[in-house]
Amino acid sequence: MWRNLPTLLSSAVRTQKFPLATARLSTDANMQQFFDDEANFGKAELRPKYRPGRAWTADELRLKSNSDLHKLWYVCLKERNMLITMRKAHVSRARNMPNPERFDRVQESMDRIEEVVHERNDAVLRLETGESAAPRERTITSFAGFTYQKPAKEHYLPPENGQKEYEVPYLDDDAYMMQKLWTEKEYMKRRDQEDDVKRRAARTDDMERFKRGAPRVFNR
């Protein structure tokens, strides 16, 4: 119930205006970059006129130079900072922030900038050194017998005896038994799941209705 409170409050006091910015802030242009447009303060939803557009797509970012991408990253960072400030201000007054999907739009843009930068760095590195720009990974086998990818760490010295983990082709007794039991358990889980799916598909509305049994009446 208490979780619903902000939502309820926001619908109750939606029409009220509240003074969020002081006069001093509104005059200073540099200071204003930390805040949203004053027209958006205390709104439950932004008016279409003030609703910003979509995120950058990777295709569009591929047109932009590295320096532009670098600057755009900081533009997005500033926007995200502003949004966090506004959310804090709204939450402290028990309101919901208007249009919180702006966070995700900015996040999407930033993710795609990273993607494009990685793509370019990867091309250069693959051409010049033959290695990928992705973080290095190692294939190792854990004590439990699972073989998986793990991010490698950087060290100043070469590995000492037993320090470096390897992929193991043949498992020892414990790991082998662990894997055997694990696969068995997974198999049984999957089998039960499939059973459940079939049982659910076979269920009819009547079975749902009479699940608890009809009321038993003894008139004799």
């Binding site: 991408l69 590995p159 659910r200």
Partner: protein, 251 residues
């Protein structure tokens, strides 16, 4: 030479007509609450264990948008119930809603269409479609407060099924909507292009200082160079690096 790829012919422009087309997927998942509350990872190669706010099998879609106040508080309520069931070690039965979503390429109704009731006691009543809900395959029609019931079973004989279908146009590069009975094309109404953000993309009102105009977005400034991103930025800003890193070992 630089070469491009990805061509989709013939095009099906109707498949991505949606009111929520531009809503970020991550945001929609978040308001549906079908995201992990906590992920137990780093399990020596065994798959992660995920604890959800609302388990995806428990999420029941509605004709309301998931970010609307009422719908959102419903999701929060369900998440609370799920969590308290976990705390008190109670068994909670998931709802496992049946997937009623019709394939994007099969769906033929769009907002702004004039539709008519074909069977039942309301037969003959007409109205404009206000909204469609793809997840539940529901259509909300202006001025009609009716519900489809058991009548639908024999509807094939009445000619209700497959009133419309998608067919290639004359040029063969695009699918158009065609009436099965008459064979006439029924164009998609302009109202179908309305999304949460705009009525028509051409008439979108740009927010000054936030939105990048089209010509700026589509100008090309990238010139490929054999230098990494960091090297280019260092060169541009004037950072000089004389130190050379010693070799390190990765393991």
């Amino acid at each position: 030479m630089l070469s491009s790829r990805v061509l989709r012919l013939p095009r099906k422009p109707f498949v991505d007509l949606d009111y929520a087309k531009h809503m970020p997927a991550a945001y929609v998942e978040k308001v549906k609450r079908t995201v992990p509350r906590k992920t137990f990872g780093d399990r020596f190669g065994a798959p992660d264990i995920k604890m959800y706010y609302v388990h995806p099998d428990d999420y029941v879609p509605s004709h309301r948008r998931p970010w609307e106040d009422k719908q959102l508080s419903e999701h929060l309520h369900r998440a609370d119930k799920y969590f308290s069931a976990q705390l008190s070690n109670k068994f909670m039965r998931f709802r496992y809603p049946k997937n009623e979503r019709i394939a994007d390429t099969e769906w033929t109704f769009f907002p702004g269409d004039l539709v008519q009731v074909m069977v039942g006691k309301d037969k003959g009543r007409q109205g404009l479609i206000l909204t469609i809900s793809r997840d539940t395959s529901e259509v909300i029609v202006d001025g009609l407060h009716t519900k489809l019931g058991e009548d639908m079973e024999g509807s094939d004989k009445l000619g209700v099924d497959k009133t419309l279908r998608w067919q290639l146009n004359g040029a063969g590069d695009e699918y158009i909507r065609v009436s099965t009975k008459s064979g006439y094309e029924i164009p998609i109404p302009s109202q179908a292009k309305v999304t949460y953000e705009y009525l028509q993309p051409e008439n979108y009102i740009e927010v000054e200082g936030k939105d990048t105009p089209a010509d700026l977005v589509l100008t090309r400034t990238y010139i490929p160079k054999v230098a990494s991103f960091e090297q280019e930025i260092m060169e541009e800003i004037g950072i000089k690096e004389t130190r050379t890193p010693k070799p390190t070992y990765w393991y």
